[in-house]
């Protein structure tokens, strides 16, 4: 029964192809992203006392969110409150390393939300509880939404990172994420209803170093 075997093999090959095409990211969710702007605030002693973050949501997500607000009659302000109370549990998606430890953040202040050219934009100031001294040790920060449902990268426009009232010797350096194939393959394999876990986003995050000589 040579023929049947051949046929069987071909059928199996077809099955494999069908299954490959038919599964994994067959319904991968839409790529959502947030453009981030950061303004680091220096006090008179040259210490970093806070950071003003601005999140600019991508156009499509913004349309959906605005329409949801219209439908439910919810004010943008209510959405902002939800976003902030959700993200507060996750350090506002910001992780600052200084002198081998993580800087502790206060609660958000001066939060605003608005729509710019159909894009939702929110801004808030995060005080840093114990101001950081960038003169002796580098300050390294990363911004990421933990599950990578949103990709958060610094915006391509400038100025995107501002060192406000910083001593003239202060500089920053932005490094793109180092992605390996396995990581990208894993992210690509996630279906529309699957979460990559809370450690995924940070691996796609940029790393910014602030240094004052």
């Amino acid at each position: 029964m040579m023929g049947i075997q051949h046929y069987y093999r071909c059928g199996m090959a077809g099955l494999m192809l069908g299954i490959f095409l038919g599964t994994s990211s067959l319904q991968a969710h839409h790529h959502n992203w947030i453009d981030v702007f950061a303004e680091w605030q220096f006090d008179t002693k040259g210490l970093i006392s806070g950071v003003k973050l601005r999140w600019l949501f991508e156009d499509y997500y913004s349309v959906l969110l605005v329409d949801d607000a219209v439908t439910t009659g919810e004010e943008l302000q209510a959405i902002l409150n939800k976003i902030l109370s959700n993200t507060a549990k996750h350090h506002y998606f910001l992780q600052i390393e200084h002198e081998g430890g993580e800087a502790s953040l206060g609660t958000h202040e001066q939060a605003t939300i608005g729509v710019q050219n159909h894009r939702i934009e929110n801004e808030f100031l995060l005080p840093i509880t114990v101001p950081l001294d960038p003169r002796h040790r580098d300050i390294v920060y990363q911004i990421a939404e933990p599950t990578y449902y949103f990709e958060m990268l610094h915006a391509e426009e400038s100025p995107v990172i501002v060192l406000k009232d910083a001593p003239p010797s202060c500089r920053y350096r932005l490094e793109p994420p180092k992605l390996d194939a396995a990581l990208v393959a894993y992210a690509a394999s996630l279906g529309v209803n699957e979460s990559g876990g809370d450690g995924l986003g940070i691996q796609f995050a940029e790393t910014v170093t602030i240094r004052c000589e």
Partner: protein, 335 residues
């Protein structure tokens, strides 16, 4: 087979449900951590995964690029050829990634005898229909019926569900048809085994002989197969391409209706090119396989029937799985 079934079932049921418009932070459960990578890096990466990763990364770039192009077109005159070209490339690429349309068409073409022209026509029709569906859904509902752009996402979800139900019907139909033919063949083979013994050297068989070679064009082109073909095309085409919906929704909001329509046409043509290549490949692969086995075994028609039934079953399962997944994700604002 059972493993496959169980596995598909597991995927379908383990799918976590959530609303479509999640706010930042809503889906994260624990605090973010540096060493929280559970699954990825230790795994070995196969060639398919690398390919899928590449397509995924490219799609991500295209999403951003399409959005940027639309943004820049605002308040400008002209067709926006850059957007059309980009949409075309997106179409080619998007269709190269894993997707429901390709899975359906290749499964059908690999498991059912059809002529090359038919495969090409099916691919083209399905790809273009996807674009038309997106245009009708978004522009029809937003432009004419006054829906909110967001609501058309729900509508396209329902269009997808209709297409899955149609696909399930087609799969069931193919399964039943193949099973019937199969029983017929078995009965005939039994009858012949009891009666005739002839050698196969000459290969001159009369019509009454059970040993048949490739089906003729007339046999391929039965009413049943035409129905199945139309069903497969509709099942693919009624599900709008997510990229097209994205572009059209943005175009509506940004007041770029014409630009959006041109972009979607470009996208559909791009998709058609990839799908048709795949259709040719699948048809050729099947023809080759049939040619290899056709002269070797009188049981070949039995095998062909089995493969046909198998294809039908596969489409049915795929449809049910897709349908299940589509219900697992609930739209944020109800229906």
């Amino acid at each position: 087979m059972f493993i496959v079934l169980a596995w598909m079932g597991a995927i379908a049921f383990s799918a976590e449900s959530h609303a479509t418009t999640l706010l930042p932070g809503e889906q994260a459960t624990t605090e973010q951590s540096r060493d929280g990578n559970h699954a990825s890096t230790e795994r070995a990466v196969g060639i398919w995964e690398l390919a899928a990763a590449w397509v995924w990364a490219k799609q991500r770039e295209f999403h951003r690029a399409l959005t940027r192009e639309l943004r820049e077109l605002r308040g400008k005159e002209g067709v926006g050829w850059a957007l059309v070209l980009m949409s075309f490339l997106y179409g080619v690429l998007h269709a190269a990634g894993p997707g429901h349309g390709k899975a359906v068409l290749t499964t059908y073409l690999l498991t059912h005898q059809s002529r090359l022209n038919r495969g090409i026509a099916m691919g083209t029709a399905a790809a273009l229909l996807q674009g038309v569906t997106a245009l009708v859904l978004v522009y029809g509902l937003v432009g004419l019926a006054g829906w909110l752009p967001r609501e058309t996402e729900t509508a396209s979800l329902w269009a997808a569900r209709v297409s899955f139900i149609l696909l399930a019907t087609v799969g069931l139909y193919l399964l039943v048809r193949a099973a019937r033919t199969l029983f017929g063949t078995v009965r005939r083979l039994r009858y012949e085994a009891g009666h005739v013994h002839h050698d196969h050297d000459g290969h001159v068989h009369g019509e009454s002989c059970g040993c048949r070679h490739l089906p003729t064009a007339v046999e391929i082109d039965t009413v049943g197969s035409r129905h199945a073909t139309a069903g497969v095309v509709l099942a693919i085409g009624l599900r709008p391409c997510s990229g097209a919906v994205l572009v059209l929704i943005l175009a509506t909001v940004m007041d770029l209706m014409w630009h959006g329509a041109f972009a979607v046409i470009g996208m559909s043509v791009g998709t058609a090119i990839t799908i048709v290549s795949l259709a040719i490949l699948a048809t050729k692969a099947r023809d080759w396989a049939s040619a290899v086995v056709a002269h070797r075994s009188p049981l070949w028609s039995l095998a062909a029937g089995g493969v046909g039934a198998f294809g039908g079953a596969l489409l049915l399962l795929l449809a049910l799985w897709l349908l299940n997944t589509s219900f697992a994700m609930k739209p944020a604002m109800g229906l």
